[in-house]
């Protein structure tokens, strides 16, 4: 018999029932809930007089709208406040475990889940947020869902799904100094495009992936959705198991041993066949910077802003022209000559302890350039605490960064943290869409080290040999 891909193993173990046309009723083990995409779902349950199918499968946290400073003062924006209070009330009414805004464990849902061990290998994990792909780093089948699906999972613990096609991206070789998981993710998207993974679940494999920490693997899977794939995956190995040991929601004792034994099978079989394979030599990659309004519009930091005139495809050329106009960039400009106004180090892509360490390493003993506004927003309250225990907060504050409380913050600017029109930002987040970080704001996606270095220099710099 032909071997199975990791995706197939995960899928097959969760099918409750298959319909003749291939649509499956898929069982969901873990449902993460946040304030933006859940109110209409809870309202739907109330209207129909329905209860939760399984309370303990749900874990809720407020992240998108929360203020990142002066929390004791409450939320000033009335609509944000109502949305967060609605989450609090819904969780109380329906019996869902909630890390409320002032809980020390509060943070971005995709940082909190793994940190708590609520994300486990072999699970199906969903959340009303597209970056749920992050959790695939643990060998779990994890993807974003819409609000109707949030309601369906709350009420039935199941989703109606069609099997995706398994795709493998192999990252060969050793990652050079100064190149991080974020750069790998951007390089993959640059190669296959933002629709390159549509209809597929992307498994990241190869020695460069194996060598990544769990934090790095999460960064990579986080951005699978930016390549069009709902799910990213990495097979389980010792790194995965070591990360999970003794996490609050992870199993213990004999159950832990039993679980680990089962998790050892969570990788693609040697002879598994993928619908599509892409190979990238990680050794040749450099730190990446996006120049446009889509994550696929990316170049190495030593390169220049590309020229649309060289693009043969008319629709793509028009897209490039529009992006350059929005970004106010001229073709041919070296990326290192592009000045920046704001630096944002945060988001579910790059706000874990390892990310903050990498950024702090670049700014230690240096100062943020005059005129640059820089902020660090840890991914969770626990990341913040751990960073403070190492003195990273002091490194940042002494360099002139603001040190904030955990939340999504300027990744999508639903709270008070945002770009003003025309401001240019070096951001460790995942989307550079028009207006994403504030109406008229211009976003360049980079790694934490690249963002931190740009804060000091006032423009992009090549962190290799900095």
């Amino acid at each position: 018999m032909m071997g199975k891909t990791l995706y197939d193993k995960l899928w097959d173990s969760h099918v409750v029932r298959e319909l003749p046309d291939g649509t499956c009723l898929l069982y969901i083990d873990r449902h993460l809930v946040h304030e933006v995409t859940s109110p209409q779902a809870f309202a739907g349950l109330r209207a129909a007089g329905r209860r939760l199918w399984r309370r303990d499968a749900n874990l809720a946290v407020a992240d998108h709208n929360v203020p990142t400073k002066d929390r004791a003062l409450g939320i000033r924006d009335a609509t944000s406040r109502v949305q967060i209070e609605t989450l609090d009330r819904n969780c109380a009414d329906f019996g869902v475990t909630l890390f409320a805004m002032n809980d020390p464990r509060q943070g971005i849902v995709h940082v909190v889940g793994p940190e708590q061990g609520a994300t486990l290998p072999g699970m199906t994990i969903v959340c009303g947020d597209s970056h749920t792909s992050t959790h695939g780093a643990f060998g779990a089948l994890a993807h974003g869902i819409g609000t109707s699906e949030v309601e369906q999972v709350l009420a039935t613990q199941c989703l109606l799904q069609k099997r995706a096609k398994p795709m493998r991206v192999r990252l060969e070789g050793r990652v050079p100094e100064g190149v991080t998981a974020k750069d790998l993710a951007l390089a993959v998207i640059g190669r296959i495009g933002t629709a390159g993974g549509t209809g597929h679940a992307i498994e990241f494999a190869g020695p460069a992936v194996r060598a990544l920490s769990m934090e790095g693997r999460m960064t990579l899977c986080n951005m699978a959705i930016e390549a069009g794939a709902r799910a990213g995956l990495v097979g389980v190995d010792d790194t995965t198991v070591a990360y999970l040991a003794n996490r609050p929601f992870a199993p213990r004792g004999a159950l832990w041993e039993q679980a680990v034994a089962a998790w050892r099978d969570l990788h693609s079989d040697e002879d598994a066949v993928f619908a599509r394979e892409v190979m990238i030599d990680a050794q040749t990659l450099s730190p990446q910077v996006t120049w446009g309004t889509s994550p696929e519009m990316v170049v190495g930091v030593a390169e220049r802003v590309p020229d649309p005139a060289a693009e043969p495809d008319a629709a793509r050329r028009a897209g490039m022209v529009a992006a350059l106009a929005y970004m106010d960039l001229k073709p041919g400009t070296p990326m290192v000559d592009v000045p920046i106004d704001v630096v944002f180090i945060g988001s579910c892509t790059n706000a874990r302890l390892e990310d903050l360490r990498a950024a702090a390493h670049m700014v230690r003993g240096r100062r943020v350039a005059t005129g640059v506004r820089a902020l660090v927003v840890p991914g969770s309250g626990l990341v913040k605490k751990a960073a403070e225990a190492e003195g990273l907060d002091r490194v940042f504050v002494e360099a002139g960064f603001e040190w904030r409380d955990a939340g999504c913050s300027m990744c999508l600017a639903m709270n008070a943290d945002r770009l003003e029109a025309g401001e240019r930002c070096a951001s460790t987040s995942n989307r550079n869409f028009e207006g994403r970080q504030g109406a008229g704001g211009r976003t360049h996606l980079v790694s934490p080290a690249m963002a931190a270095a740009a804060a000091v220099a006032g423009h992009f710099v090549d962190v290799r040999g900095w």
Partner: protein, 213 residues
């Protein structure tokens, strides 16, 4: 969800690739806790010349250059779009905004997966047709004021004004749901016994997944 069988309507062309959900409905409008009220802010950044916050919709200045604001496309219910439409966030507010504005079907060469799913669940029809057909439609729509097509979900075809039938496919299960206006929760609960049986099996196979309660 409103049932959908057949619709003949004006087509409005949006000639951009990778239209993301932030563009369809920007995040500052996602704070509502209901499902209504998003239509006024559909394509907000492109549709208006001024920022929305702090102003009522009546006070805002529409951008006359944006295609949805052109008089010839008023009342359009079918959106013609380019590749990878709906990429980005999972917000279901995107199909809600499109539907509330009046769009019932989108014709494009490809869609982002989550948007595609969210649309079907709300009875907004995402129709995939080949690139060449999309190119032709863009040319025809722009050249012909009042250009309308018929979307027929029963026979799974878009019928052009000259009678050309362009076939498309929707999963049979989804098609049935949309034709009948059925919601997923009610449908799934028919299988309550299967779900319980599955859970019992998993409790034995993978007990660590059930320890939290």
């Amino acid at each position: 969800m409103d049932a959908f069988e057949k619709l003949t309507a004006l087509v409005v062309p949006l000639d951009r690739v990778n239209v993301d959900t932030d563009a369809i409905i920007p995040k500052q409008y996602l704070k509502a806790i209901g499902r209504a009220g998003f239509g006024a802010n559909l394509f907000d950044n492109w549709r208006y010349l001024d920022a929305g916050e702090g102003r009522t919709d009546a006070e805002r200045r529409p951008n006359p250059e944006f295609v949805l604001n052109k008089p010839r496309y008023q009342g359009a219910q079918i959106l013609l779009a380019r590749a990878n439409f709906g990429c980005g966030s999972s917000r279901e507010h995107a199909p809600w905004a499109l539907l509330e504005y009046g769009i019932r079907a989108i014709i494009a060469p490809s869609f982002a997966d989550i948007f595609f799913n969210n649309s079907l669940k709300n009875g907004l029809l995402p129709i995939i047709v080949p690139d060449a057909v999309v190119d032709r439609l863009f040319r025809d729509v722009e050249a012909t004021p009042g250009y309308a097509v018929t979307v027929d979900l029963v026979s799974e075809a878009v019928v052009l004004p000259d009678g050309t039938r362009v076939p498309f496919q929707i999963d049979p299960f989804r098609r049935e749901c949309i034709l009948r206006g059925l919601d997923d929760v009610g449908w799934t609960l028919q299988y309550e016994a299967d779900i319980k049986q599955y859970e019992e099996r998993r409790r034995i196979e993978a007990p660590w997944l059930f320890t939290a309660e």
